[in-house]
Symmetry: C2
Subunit: 600 residues, 2 copies
Amino acid sequence: MADTLLDRRDLAFQLYEVLDTESLNERERFSDHSRETFDAVFDTAERIAREQFASHNSLADREEPRFEDGKVTMRPEVKTAVDAYAGAGFIAGRYDYDLGGMQLPETVMTACNGFFMAANPSTAGYPFLTTAAANVIRTFGSREQQDWFLQPMLEGRFTGTMALTEPQAGSSLADLRTSAKPTDEGHYLIKGAKIYISGGEHELSDNIVNLVLARIHGAPPGVKGISMFIVPKYRLDADGNPGERNGVGLAGLIHKLGYRGTTSTALSFGDDADCHGYLVGEPHQGLKYMFQMMNEARVGVGFGAAAIGYRGYRHSLEYARDRRQGRPPSEKDPTTEPVPIIQHADVRRMLLAQKSWMEGALALCFYGARLMDDSHTHPDEAQRHQARQLLDLLTPVIKAWPSEYGPKANDLAIQVYGGAGYTREYPVEQCWRDNRLNPIHEGTNGIQAMDLLGRKVWQGNGEAIQQLFGAIQADLQKAPDEQCRQWAYSLSETLQQAGKVTQSLGQALAQEAPEKGLANASVYLRLFGHICVAWMWLRQANAASAALAGEVSAADEAFYRGKLQAAQYFFHWELPTVAQDLVLLQNQDDTCYAMRDEWF
Amino acid sequence: MADTLLDRRDLAFQLYEVLDTESLNERERFSDHSRETFDAVFDTAERIAREQFASHNSLADREEPRFEDGKVTMRPEVKTAVDAYAGAGFIAGRYDYDLGGMQLPETVMTACNGFFMAANPSTAGYPFLTTAAANVIRTFGSREQQDWFLQPMLEGRFTGTMALTEPQAGSSLADLRTSAKPTDEGHYLIKGAKIYISGGEHELSDNIVNLVLARIHGAPPGVKGISMFIVPKYRLDADGNPGERNGVGLAGLIHKLGYRGTTSTALSFGDDADCHGYLVGEPHQGLKYMFQMMNEARVGVGFGAAAIGYRGYRHSLEYARDRRQGRPPSEKDPTTEPVPIIQHADVRRMLLAQKSWMEGALALCFYGARLMDDSHTHPDEAQRHQARQLLDLLTPVIKAWPSEYGPKANDLAIQVYGGAGYTREYPVEQCWRDNRLNPIHEGTNGIQAMDLLGRKVWQGNGEAIQQLFGAIQADLQKAPDEQCRQWAYSLSETLQQAGKVTQSLGQALAQEAPEKGLANASVYLRLFGHICVAWMWLRQANAASAALAGEVSAADEAFYRGKLQAAQYFFHWELPTVAQDLVLLQNQDDTCYAMRDEWF
């Protein structure tokens, strides 16, 4: 079981029974596809993920990349795996046939990537970053840039990075200092330093294409003066092949708690040699371009957190079924055989919490992926617009909720193992360490909270949030039986209260300093996230209940019963905890806001 | 600031303003002592902890002990530190003058040990384990065993271990298989295997005194047939010096997620050579003896978790004051200077949560230490009995609550640092890894929950819980002003509901299978813990409010205001979350109980 990474039965449920992914095939872009072709893609992804990625997940953690003799060296299995991923066409999976792509829906590509994230998030990082950078060049790069950089990236010959963060600025993009000086030859001279650049140096590809945020000389201060540049490790010769070394230097490797297989680098630009950069799109529009990449990356972070969380759950489930220890409290005879620990209610609690959190998180991410598909390919323009708006609104939630609960799930996985879970001989401690990055990178969850309450909720005059409420309402109506209707009722009540709280927060933000109104943004994000995941559970419960009303195999019956029990866990054990969030928000509790530095 | 480990101002507040530790000096045993001698002891502890322990905390994590050429080698700094601890008399700190001790109260020794736990929990583990084992020999060992083993342990020449867990049994002591065969020469021959034995092998001392649980041939099955043995690494010669090697073998070192400086060993007894063991006390009484040690160890685990949690808080506070990044939401001018991140409300939230959790946890542990003192040295026998009962009741809470919230605090410390916190260049990721052991060892928190709800609450006909409620009531009455009275009211309400829920759980346990009644024991433990920590915050708030009513220095005013704000955090943000626990318990929610293996 530990080799299956994602559960194929659950994947089929999520994609085909809850989301109706097959309906995408009615769209012209996907008309060559069918459930069979999707499943064949999953087979390939699962096989490569298991054979090439999972196999060195622990090894690449123990023997992390090293910087020696001016080169970054790492386990050779990493390159084999990255090449296999590219070779199977996954980097170009979403792209048009004429770019060498497979024209696969986002929903399907997301699910594929789940196998790799679960198998080995560190090694998966390299192609995923490449995909993210490729998407930007595809959307905003010139024709020439696409020919020179995009094509080799899609083929896996070049890899990509996102070079945003600077040591002095951290999350504050307004304070970026890296500069770009125009030259007469068309390129810019880049000068500055970046930090925490994943995949910024390695020997996995012929070239590394850094997408660098920098200020053109004379640009306005703050985020309005940021431009985006393609800054390759090697400049290209006349044939487009990597030639002369560009002035991108490795200042050092950063040693992390987890995700150790992905190099995290401090890069210097233009320190020892001229560093050529090529402007992407228009000057001073870098923030906009960056946000396309960043939004995709945020959804990817949430999904990765869910996949790692889910992987830990599956490991701990397997262990709990296998490991015999102790007896039920009523069994007083110590000569009886010890029972598998899954028979202890508290162990089931820890397993059910993991299942409920992570299958809820996966559902949320798949929902987000479907919104991407709809925003790109829905035949109706109004629907495309709505999907885009809703995705915008949900992006901070999709990033933050799974990345809060993924590490919590991994924490419980360790606890199920007990002492064994604390050793490096079992896989769950690495899951926990790897997953801990997710609440931090691509915008900390505190920043997601500010994005949600400070911006997203009010965008388009609150249209998106109305749309969200409408979408939830539609699923409330679909509850097929009394149990689902009860859960629908709980969700509906919570939704109403959340609506009121949102209104009063809106008034506060209009009247008071934003410092105060946004002080509890994290609480709002938690409330919002819990509502969304409860909604995802209602959708799953509706589907499971409907299926159980018909004839099902014994295996399917157990599967659907498990879905209903996990839904019940969420509605009994999780959703009610937002009562406290609602109170804090209603009262505009100022405990944290009013705390002073000198009182600590 | 990072060098102060515990905050001396807070320590003085907890010990002298909340607990009235000085009143202990009225007892004959402590009559040589005064606040001045206690503070001098703290000075020594703090100095040694800073200079000898904190200085190699990270180093001993990076270069963990290794098993080479039949020997365990580790950083030399560990031995220097352990020797300094023993040399300053701390192992014998609690003991009578005539044993070479200092006759220090438990409260004071606990506080001392906090410096070492905060500085370097792995290295502190060696003398702490020695103390725990020494206490058992002191209480239950024969005069001869005390002469031969206790004395060198108190001097630091011998170290100690607790060898309980076996690979096949884990937490289930009933399933221990290690055997003890009587011989004509007085000793027993021990045969078996133990796992996760901390400090089971090293070169730090002349001898290692393992306290081993084993079954004498013919003993009854289950926990009733367990005896305790002293099993030294080296047998003693006629002069009491380590002589011939005893048949204790190192089967292997276990590599852990954290706490890496403490060797965790798999030991074999009697595999390659005869293994002599010396019976402690009476046959088949091992469980009772073990539980004295275990209860002390559990309180120690809780305190260690609080100390590591607190250390991470202090690091992150220092970082938040130092690190400038971003601007308040209302500051739209990007050319202004970035602010220290402590000015962001969400950072203050994460700091305040850490402060509130960890100072609450520390208060709970100090309260437990005071109960130890009262159970040993209160002049009134009835009071000694009551203190013992209350300590018994609170032990699972003191173990579990800090060990749940300590790692959570460290998690927030990482988040305050952001990307930097995820790197191994900053200390908080190690705190988080080290602290993750605490919910697992000395009885997982699930086992603590069963101990609390399955046993402790009902002991002595519920006398202890009545006593606890009485002690809380007394502090509710002492609220000196309106704010404290409001908090007292909240606590009182929660307490009443908890009382009702306890009654109904008692009825359920009397009527139904214990499997069902105990299924939500972890929820009960959480409720119980939150009530206890809220109580600790009311006590601190009462003291702070009373002090603020008089004349105080500016520094003290800030200190007391911080206490009140942290109390407010607990009463506004934490205590209300038990509403959900109460509902689950009142409904005897069976979501986890009813979940079936095949539904996962």
